[in-house]
């Protein structure tokens, strides 16, 4: 959609042979489309990061839980997105625009797509007890945004 591209193309002499762009992106696009170079290990995935209140030395004021599995998202969002991960519609558009203009538009990010909350039970300074619900504390699923 970039007008500059169109103008440049119009000024170029027409050649019967299609010359692919020399950038590596084009090669990667082709390979990815054939599902050759997509390493499942590189995909956007959820990894566990256990936050232990016990290890933080907080047992004297946190009654429950002992800790919680917070998780984090890690990996690359490589084309085709839906072959091995949750991807938003935006991520697909982001990928396409990235291929068109790789220097200025980044790839979609591997990020949480579903979060859920936890409850924490703790004493305050006055030994009153507080039960508080914290939303969006734990990653339930990762995907490409």
């Amino acid at each position: 959609s970039a007008p500059g591209h169109k103008q440049r193309n119009q000024n170029r002499p027409k050649t019967p042979k299609h010359t692919p762009p020399s950038s590596q992106e084009a090669l990667r696009l082709a390979e990815a489309a054939e599902n050759v170079s997509v390493d499942p290990k590189q995909g956007c995935k959820k990894h566990e990061l256990y936050v232990s209140f016990r290890e933080l030395g907080w047992q004297d004021w946190i009654i429950a839980p002992e800790g919680y599995a917070a998780y984090y998202c890690e990996g690359e969002c490589a084309f085709p997105l839906n072959s091995y991960m949750n991807a938003t519609n935006h991520a697909i558009v982001q990928t396409l625009v990235h291929f068109i203009n790789p220097d200025s538009v980044p790839k979609p990010c591997c990020a949480p797509t579903q979060l859920h909350g936890i409850s924490v039970l703790y004493f305050d300074d006055s030994s009153n007890v507080i039960l508080k619900k914290y939303r969006n504390m734990v990653v339930r699923a990762c995907g490409c945004h």
Binding site: K41, Y122, F123, D125, I130
Partner: protein, 256 residues
């Protein structure tokens, strides 16, 4: 390269944190929890009634069936069986609440030598910002009475102390009252929603609660005689207040 990075990342997660990193992590998690610093309770007693009750609420909140209780009818006011088990009414409050808080009785056992009433005071002024009370309960345990009163009924009344005088009785406002059998056992639950909201807005007017017991003939009776547990009773049966809160707005974390 990716594999190496991934391995490094795993190693970072699983290795022990240095003390500086540990402090940073603690600071970050406190920030996520919305706490300015870690609380430092003075040797909190976990076996008292309030923490036990709150732990029951916590476990109830974890159960998927808990939400089903929200549509159930309110439980009888006198809850039998496990001494601290939350009633269905509490479950309903819990499902609607963002925060629940129990308050420690500020009256020391030797401060309340009265024979014919119990005096209780709770500090409701230390409530996290942005929270509004949706329900509050004053909970008093009633033990089974084996002796001569077994077939009798009593009249329990809870008053809010409005003003105190040196030379005469305090001005009182009746909050709630009910008739109980001597043979009953369990937690008596009195609604304290309006009073707790008033105390939060006007902490200076929080002069405490008075619990009075009368016989069927209208004579004042020592609450202990009818099995009502006060501050001098077993720790897991001592009176406490529990309040349910909802967040009043979006909580924004401060920029650091």
């Amino acid at each position: 390269n990716f594999t190496m990075e991934s391995d490094l990342s795993s190693a970072f997660v699983h290795r022990a944190l240095r003390s500086q990193e540990r402090r940073e992590v603690q600071r970050e998690i406190l920030s996520v929890l919305g706490l300015p610093r870690r609380p430092r309770p003075h040797s909190p007693e976990r076996r008292t009634a309030a923490p036990i009750y709150m732990l029951e609420l916590y476990n109830a909140a974890l159960e998927p069936a808990a939400s089903g209780f929200s549509r159930a009818a309110a439980a009888p006011v006198l809850a039998p069986a496990p001494p601290s088990a939350p009633t269905r009414r509490d479950q309903r409050y819990l499902s609607d609440a963002d925060m629940v808080m129990s308050f420690v009785n500020m009256v020391e056992p030797d401060e309340d030598p009265h024979m014919f009433h119990q005096f209780h005071r709770f500090d409701l002024s230390r409530i996290p910002e942005g929270e509004a009370v949706t329900a509050a309960e004053f909970r008093v345990y009633k033990d089974f009475v084996h002796e001569r009163y077994e077939n009798e009924t009593f009249h329990v009344s809870v008053y809010q102390v409005l003003r105190e005088y040196d030379d005469r009785d305090s001005d009182l406002f009746l909050l709630d009252s009910r008739v109980i059998w001597a043979a009953e056992e369990g937690w008596l639950v009195f609604d304290l929603t309006a009073t707790s909201n008033h105390w939060i807005l006007h902490p200076g007017q929080n002069l405490g609660l008075l619990l009075v017991l009368e016989s069927a003939d209208g004579d004042r009776v020592n609450p202990r005689v009818a099995g009502l547990v006060g501050n001098q009773g077993p720790q897991n049966k001592q009176p406490f207040i529990v309040a349910f809160f909802r967040a009043t707005g979006v909580r924004l974390r401060s920029v650091r």
